[in-house]
Assembly symmetry: C2
Homo-oligomer: 331 residues x 2
């Protein structure tokens, strides 16, 4: 691999001039610059990121903390994150927490001591204090999907609107007893879904039937059991909204076991679709969110923060995406 020294020799200048020409960090005579650029090209020189990093105190690495990857929307988000990271020559350290706050805590404490330049996190909300500390210490942080701490930047979908619109949609389709299977209300996205649902039911004059959960609700089993539970107590339910796709798959299975026809007797809609809906025996209507794009945006927002931290410290930014209603067989 050619080094800056090789380039300097070929271009007949000092390495400091090469550095300046490449980084535009000071005026370099145009003629000198083209000589340098020609040499760079000839040697197909690539700067050594380690050396740059050592000098600048940067590692060119971002930490990515997510609940899980397998069978989850985060795998799609991650593809977007990685794409932008790669384009900016950043590596990643990916950690999954299974939404266990103590696992998350341990991971954050390891990550903060000099492993990463910035952090992308979909957190449990239980370690906000650590996040604030890290941020105060100069770590760039962007929250993804879950805006748990308004003092930190975020890239999320508008779950409140999703739930509101989904409820209205079901009403228009004829449903009058609409229930919501939700997640842990201590997490912002679930609170938002509830709030949108609640506003719509009030507006429409409907009863509110809401199940929340304190442990891991992002599962097939939780969807399944919640549906059974719901129908045991509410014979009239004619629509079930679920927070995420995987719950919906559980609900569909439960309704099949109970020999309840979808969508005629009960309609089902997911509030966080990610292109799984159309791959089922009964394809599922969903508010589809642009997962890949959200990943890309969060990643580039973070890298931007990292690289412009010195000059004028970028402020807190919140970016919100809208979900798109995609009708399928379950409604």
């Amino acid at each position: 691999m050619a080094t800056m020294k090789d380039v300097a020799k070929l271009a007949n200048v000092d390495i400091s001039t090469v550095s300046r020409a490449l980084n535009n960090s000071a005026y370099v005579h145009p003629d000198t610059k083209s000589k340098v650029l020609a040499a760079v090209k000839e040697l197909s020189y690539q700067p050594n990121i380690l050396a740059q990093g050592l000098k600048k105190g940067k590692r060119h690495t971002i930490g990515v903390v997510l609940p899980k990857l397998h069978m989850d929307i985060f795998s799609e988000i991650l593809q977007g994150i990685e794409k932008q990271a790669r384009m900016h020559q950043y590596s990643t350290i990916i950690c999954t927490t299974e939404d266990n706050p103590s696992v998350e805590k341990e991971i954050l404490n390891r990550l903060r001591v000099g492993f990463i330049d910035g952090l992308l996190i979909a957190g449990t909300g239980k370690n906000n204090r650590i996040l604030r500390d890290m941020n105060a210490d100069g770590m760039s942080i962007v929250q993804i999907v879950r805006n748990q701490e308004t003092k930190l930047s975020s890239v999320i979908a508008n779950y409140e609107t999703s739930a509101y619109e989904a409820t209205k949609f079901l009403f228009k389709k004829g449903s009058r007893c609409i229930s919501l299977i939700n997640g842990n209300m201590e997490l912002a996205p679930y609170r938002d879904r509830y709030s949108g649902y609640r506003n719509a039911t009030i507006e429409l004059g409907l009863d509110e039937i809401h199940i929340e959960s304190h442990d891991n609700p992002n599962t097939f089993e939780y969807g399944y059991n919640s549906a059974i539970e719901l129908l045991k107590h509410n014979i009239n339910i004619d629509a079930i909204m679920v927070a995420v796709d995987i719950q919906g798959i559980g609900v569909l299975r439960a309704l099949k076991d109970l020999s309840i026809n979808v969508p005629n007797n009960i309609k089902v809609i997911s509030l966080t679709g990610h292109s799984v809906g159309n791959m089922l025996e009964t394809s599922m209507t969903a508010m589809e969110i642009p997962a890949n794009e959200m990943g890309e945006k969060s990643s580039s927002m973070l890298i931007d923060k990292i690289e412009n931290q010195k000059n004028g410290r970028i402020g807190v930014q919140h970016l919100t995406f809208q979900a798109v209603l995609t009708e399928r067989e379950s409604t």
Copy 2:
């Protein structure tokens, strides 16, 4: 962050001694060593990996090239990869190719010029030449799931045995007309599945009904269309084996649309299960493969190679896992 200099000062020795004590790279007097270790502890010193890397010419980063993450077994494998990488203080650069050989080629050519110390790849098999070149240049490489190039190490599942055993299992369940929906036969894992299937059918005296594909077969749509196609030409089919889960989900949907009962009229089994099978309206029997463990093993094997490259160059290793038959409703 404390540096080696701080440790040296506190322990009253030269930084070179600190380095030696920490790396066990030369004999250090036990007393000196404990002084150093005490200082390290007091300052909670963490070596700067960038500086180490700069000196040793290593980046502490591995490249991970996979077909895709979303709705795929690779997302689970990746969790295992990341876990081991993190434990060894390695970062990753993750690239998805969608099994497009030219995308893969571009990615490999970018990655090879000094970005990574080693490569983990589930490749298309179309760029084996580049891989061999990279390996000859000193890049450590481990193939995962797909052993396309026997001169390079690999961690795979035994697909041949999976297909063989699955066929025998279906026979025992009463099936006599067993078909296989497979993938691109240019890829080793699909050839292996076919071979296991073929051996079993010959042994059992059954007809062979095999569909392969040249483009992206790892989809719901491909499974769906293949099932329709298959049944158009072979009225007697009473069992369908699919290469991967997602195809099986498509097959189940197709059979539902055709009002064919599963498992009474047709049985369905997936040859590469990854815990999706039990989450469906009709849960699916599968040869389950230990994805997470395969990820961990491939990752630690690669890091081992990277770190022991100098002393005695580790030879080519091939590690094979067995799938486990998990019966569910579809058989």
